[in-house]
């Protein structure tokens, strides 16, 4: 069980800022595939992974990172601070 967060246009495409996932995907990529299989809005958000960044438990991470023990995963576009 983990929280999945979305920011910026990822949030807008998926339509919610946050949701709880009851399955236990092994990696970020497994989580992405689980989500993509759900509905078109997820497919639209995740169609180009090179345009996305991911954080696991609030640390920047990679799509092949393990989710063992992870409590929070966030997807968002490249950051534009400053």
């Amino acid at each position: 069980m983990m929280d999945v967060l979305y920011f910026a246009w990822v949030r807008e495409r998926i339509g919610v800022p946050k949701e709880r996932i009851e399955t236990a995907p092994a990696t970020v990529m497994d989580l992405v595939n689980t989500l993509r299989a759900r509905e078109d809005r997820y497919e639209a958000a995740f169609s180009d992974l090179s345009a996305l960044r991911v954080a696991v438990d609030q640390e920047l991470s990679d799509f092949d990172a393990s989710l063992t023990g992870a409590r929070e995963v966030a997807f968002f576009p490249p950051m534009t601070g400053g």
Binding site: L5, F7, A8, W9, R11, A55, Q58, E59, L60, E72, A74, F76, P77, P78, M79, T80, G81, G82
Partner: protein, 147 residues
């Protein structure tokens, strides 16, 4: 380290003076200030800044600590706003203090380069034509390779 992520406006002059006053033995202070501007003549009405509340403070602290490990610094200040800003408002500032200017300049540039691409902020510009997320610039990602 003084790192603040806030919705409220802040005053650059007050912060710069306060930062200088809190240092001792540091002869050089560099500040960078980012301001909402209508750079491309799009009749910018507002800039909406979204962030990742749980992560932002930690990400900025990590970047600031990295700067302190790399250069001989006094203190580091980062203030970054989120929420709705209008043209000419100050978005954010960093300040660095050092004995000599090279350290202060390099640390400030380093903070800005990492803050641009590694701190979880996203900007949306609201113009006459609609609202659009600001795209990350390749130049900003490239800027990281020099450190």
């Amino acid at each position: 380290m003084d790192i603040r992520v806030q919705e409220a406006a802040f005053d650059l002059g007050t912060e710069a003076n306060g930062f200088v006053a809190r240092q001792s033995r540091m002869g050089a202070v560099v500040t960078f200030t980012g301001i909402v501007r209508d750079l491309d003549d799009t009749k910018l009405r507002a800039m909406q800044i979204e962030h990742y509340p749980g992560m932002t403070q930690k990400a900025l602290e990590k970047i600031a600590q990295e700067a302190r490990d790399r250069w001989n610094l006094g203190d580091v200040l980062i203030i970054h706003r989120y929420g709705k800003l209008t043209p000419d408002e100050v978005i954010m500032m960093v300040a660095t203090a050092a004995r000599h200017r090279a350290d202060a300049f390099q640390a400030a540039e380093f903070l800005m380069d990492f803050l641009k691409s590694r701190a979880p902020f996203w900007k949306k510009e609201v113009t006459e034509a609609g609202a659009d997320w600001v795209a990350a610039r390749d130049a900003d990602e490239d800027a990281l390779t020099r450190w």
